[in-house]
Symmetry: C2
Subunit: 189 residues, 2 copies
């Protein structure tokens, strides 16, 4: 089976490379919306599935990986920020609190399909206005759910603790993905 | 105050750089042994202090950072492996279990000295002989306590969960260090 990654996220590409997995990336057109009634904790899995079925060029020797990452604080989903002010608001909400990160993953071939989701708790220390301004101005986190990257300055300096998979917060639950790929492919990956 | 890092670890250098801290590295000669009677959980703090006081060239405008990282499984300390066989033995001990990682840090100027230690729990999935051989042969983890790097292939593919600071496992508890440096320097770092 050839592995396809249906994501343009440079972080996901890098994580899959570091897993020593051979793959190529494909582009998927998909509107990332979801029903209002859905539980926020199910959104990442839902969107990973939606992205997967939006791809119609799958061949029978191909396995497609799609993923979606969602940040949740007090039952509210934080998406990618539109601009500086939205990023600032999100970081103010996350400051001095614990939030949840979910990455949903769908693996699909023409014969099989499976979706799973992994949760990580992230504890962020208090962020001052200066910290927030410094981070947004220098790191431009506009492509990141919740307006931050755990691997950036803000993650090193202000995340005191996590509970769960670190790479899940970056965008792929690598150890769970590795296990599932081995099962599906019936061989070491 | 000028900041000195008393460590030749490329991972510690990179983490301090990612914290956007200006520093230079210095070489410290220090035998990394400790009293037999010491609690394994105190060894990292003890060695960070020992490294710090081994450096005798400190000027009054300098702050020295030293650190030591220790892996503990069932009350046994795993040091850096001498060779392939020792690395293999260590990874077999860690397989399918949760272990603890402690990084001790000492901050010292001529006027002040403080030592602290941070604990992270790490849950490793089962490693097959093939996994262990693949990892040691390709990643040569002979400079790493416990024979693994969380940021390497083995960490992505087999660490299912951690509890605590991720960067602590890499060699520096960055968020705690950042907080302490701010306090000691009385300014943003």
């Amino acid at each position: 089976m050839k592995i396809l990654l249906g994501s343009q996220s440079p972080r996901r590409k890098k994580l899959l490379e570091q897993l020593d997995i051979q793959f190529k990336t494909v582009t998927i057109e998909c509107e990332e919306n979801y029903p209002n009634a859905i539980n926020p904790r199910d959104v990442a899995a839902y969107l990973s599935k939606k992205k997967s079925i939006s791809y119609s060029d799958l061949n029978k020797d191909e396995l497609l990986i799609t993923a979606d990452t969602v940040v949740i604080i007090q039952n509210e989903i934080l998406n990618k920020p539109k601009d500086y002010n939205e990023a600032k608001e999100m970081l103010e909400k996350l400051s001095d609190k614990t939030h949840e990160v979910y990455t949903g993953v769908t693996l699909r071939s023409l014969a099989k399909q499976s979706t799973f989701s992994v949760q990580t708790y992230v504890e962020l220390n208090e962020l001052s206005d200066k910290d927030i301004n410094y981070y947004i101005s220098n790191f431009h986190p506009f492509d990141k759910a919740g307006s931050y990257g755990i691997q950036d300055w803000i993650g090193l300096s202000h995340i005191s603790s996590i509970k769960g998979c670190y790479y899940n917060v970056m965008g792929l639950p690598t150890s769970m993905l590795y296990k599932r790929l081995k099962n599906i492919l019936g061989r070491d990956v």
